[in-house]
């Protein structure tokens, strides 16, 4: 044993310090973690910036509504837009066909004004400044033979950490017709071992992967040595696994409960030591209560989606914007990697809305204001506790 050992973590070994200018798809999180986007900016914000690399996200489905598909679609699209390799497993016969329904990032002109605009402008500003620098010096170049000039060109490639996705526009084919996208159907698998093998082999490319965030080109040009740093967008270092409806009844392996658990445990530990994120959705009502609890304990990030009943007058009185809400998202557990401090969220229940029927938006619930004469306090944001209140004359 060496007398002095350098402290290594799974991230410092393989991932050089990622500055936001060079690798927008990963950002630094707290406690030495790195975060990737879930594809839903509101969810990223609630989770503290994004999903930590190495974590397992589990989504408990509602059998009455496919809202978990919204989460999956955005998650997968975000990864594909960032050219991150993806493994997608689904109980349908043709999982690849699903990729054609993934949403495309919204174009800037119909984008809502968010902080992304400011970031885009910031990027453009940097490119302009360098160009200005070059223009001033070029006239001096001829008279300075034998002098070596270094200049840095930042090729702005419009990548952001998190995109707004337009659910009505499908993703361009070139994003998912590549070697880096793999699909597997879980419908006819006799047991879960085949899926486990595919996941393990997929993740093996991320545990040893050494990311190169820049390339150096030497171009000989009349005594000028140009060193160009560029963000090689084809080099992707983080993997994403999306497993839809694990333990769905149409899969043969769905009643092998301990095998399922074993698979999830193995996936969790492999993802933990890889530069990857996995998301699993499962129909919680179809799994026995005991096993459902075991599954929940295995998750680093646990959320559930719930349909909203139509034409519920009580709920309409209680919540503002009831008619725009398509469902609820409950956050049961936030990833706590490398820390013992629990995350206490301001609101654990968010409403799922489709803005302009195109953009997925998560919002805190707002209780309708209560009539002041009754003496009850105003509810601001909070979980939907179903507290009774008189409907106020005011509405936001």
């Amino acid at each position: 044993m060496a007398a002095t050992k350098t402290r290594t973590s799974s991230f410092s070994r393989n991932l050089p310090a990622a500055s936001s200018a060079q690798s927008p798809e990963i950002k630094c999180g707290p406690n030495g973690t790195f975060l990737v986007s879930s594809g839903i900016p509101d969810l990223d914000k609630t989770l503290g910036g994004g999903i930590p690399l190495g974590s397992l996200v589990m989504v408990m489905e509602d059998s009455e509504a496919p809202h978990h598909m919204l989460l999956l679609r955005n998650f997968m699209s975000q990864g594909l837009v960032h050219k991150q390799p993806l493994l997608y497993a689904s109980p349908s016969k043709d999982p690849r066909g699903f990729l054609g329904t993934l949403p495309s990032p919204s174009s800037p002109k119909d984008d809502k004004s968010r902080s992304h605009d400011a970031e885009q402008e910031k990027g453009l500003r940097i490119a302009w400044q360098y160009k200005k620098y070059f223009g001033e010096n070029q006239s001096n170049l001829d008279g300075q033979r034998g002098m070596i000039l270094f200049r840095f060109i930042v090729l702005y490639n419009k990548q952001e950490f998190s995109n707004e996705f337009d659910l009505r526009r499908p993703l361009d084919r070139h994003f998912y017709t590549g070697q880096h996208v793999d699909c597997i159907s879980t419908k006819d698998l006799p047991n879960i071992a085949a899926l486990q093998e595919r996941c393990t082999s997929f993740l093996s490319q991320f545990s040893r992967y050494i990311c190169t965030f820049f390339a150096i080109d030497f171009v000989g040009f009349t005594n000028l040595l140009i060193v160009t740093f560029r963000n090689d967008a084809t080099v992707a270092c983080t993997g994403r696994i999306a497993i839809q409806s694990l333990c769905a009844p149409q899969c043969e392996s769905s009643n092998m409960e301990w095998e399922m658990l074993s698979f999830i445990r193995s996936l969790k530990s492999t993802v933990r030591s890889a530069i990857a994120v996995a998301i699993i959705t499962f129909p919680s009502s179809l799994v026995s209560a005991t096993f459902c609890k075991r599954w929940q304990h295995l998750a680093d990030c646990l959320v559930s989606v719930k349909a909203i009943p139509d034409e519920d007058k009580e709920l309409a009185k209680l919540l503002t914007g009831y008619q725009d809400i398509v469902g609820f998202l409950n956050i049961h557990r936030v990833p706590r990697i490398n820390t013992q401090v629990p995350a206490v969220l301001e609101a654990t229940t968010l409403s799922i809305k489709l803005q302009k029927r195109r953009y997925l938006v998560l919002e805190c619930l707002n209780q309708a204001p209560v009539d002041g004469s009754s003496g009850s306090s105003y509810g601001t944001s909070g979980s939907c506790s179903g507290a009774s209140s008189k409907s106020g004359s005011l509405d936001f």
């Binding site: 301990w258 095998e259 193995s266 209560a289 075991r294 304990h297």
Partner: protein
């Protein structure tokens, strides 16, 4: 606040008389129960920190069977609490057994003729124990995080897991070492599962339950702690010592206070 805090958790666990001469947990078996809403792993962290750093030059050794998180996770957390697990590991005071990817299949022992799974794990534990000098064997604390994942590793053979735990209990009576296990109470709500949990509770000398507040989430109170210490007195009568308090977990410490008495 710190000395008072030390008293509340340490009193609950029976750790309040840490000296160089006495073994830290006194050969007891501690069971920590938690749930999805509130994790009890902070108790493990506090315990490890106290065992390894409270008394300088002590001969306490912690054997950690990790089913839930890798070494880097615990290392980072304990660093913030003021305990360098890497250094303790090099000194041989902290033995980390990474069981994250290890399967413990049962039923194969006879076939291959060799030891596998839980048998091999127990053999490793006894090897560690026997490697210690005889006078120091009672200073060993075996920590298991967590037992529900051990069941998954054993592919659902809860009986074998119980047997394994019973064997570990015999070590506490034979050698005087201590055993600390973490399990999730909310998994065992059905009748079949209840038997497993009850057996673990029955065998424990100290039972700790970590739960969320009945009123829900709060930023300044993260949950409540219920402790039960069962000691058999000389004449065979039972002495139960109960503790109940609330806690707030921070990066480098945990605050403990009685309900409503938060400083």
């Amino acid at each position: 606040m710190d000395s008072r805090a030390r008293n509340l958790l340490d009193e609950a666990l029976g750790l309040d008389q840490l000296t160089q001469l006495k073994p830290p947990l006194g050969g007891k078996a501690v069971l920590i129960e938690d749930c999805v809403e509130t994790s009890g792993s902070f108790v493990l962290h506090q315990l490890i920190k106290r065992l390894l750093t409270a008394v300088p030059n002590s001969s306490n050794v912690v054997l950690f069977l990790a089913f839930a998180n890798p070494f880097s996770h615990y290392d980072r957390i304990l660093r913030k609490l003021g305990c360098n697990l890497g250094a303790q590991r090099e000194k041989g005071r902290f033995i980390f057994v990474d069981m994250l990817n290890v399967e413990c299949p049962v039923g194969e022992e006879g076939k291959a003729g060799g030891r596998s799974g839980l048998f091999a794990l127990f053999a490793n534990i006894t090897k560690v124990l026997n490697a210690l000098p005889e006078s120091n064997r009672k200073c060993l604390t075996i920590v298991i995080d967590d037992v529900s994942l051990m069941e998954v590793a054993a592919h659902g053979s809860s009986d074998h897991v119980l047997d394994f735990l019973h064997y570990c209990h015999t070590l506490t009576s034979d050698y005087g070492c201590s055993l600390v296990t973490l399990n999730h109470e909310d998994i065992y709500s059905s009748m079949d599962g209840l038997v497993f949990l009850k057996q673990m509770e029955y065998a424990a000398d100290v039972l700790v339950k970590v739960e969320p507040l009945a009123t829900g989430l709060a930023a300044d109170v993260h949950g409540q702690f219920d402790g039960l210490q069962m000691t058999v007195l000389n004449r065979g009568s039972l002495n139960n010592r109960m503790s109940n308090f609330q806690f707030r977990i921070k990066e480098n410490s945990v605050e403990y206070f009685y309900p409503g008495a938060r400083a």
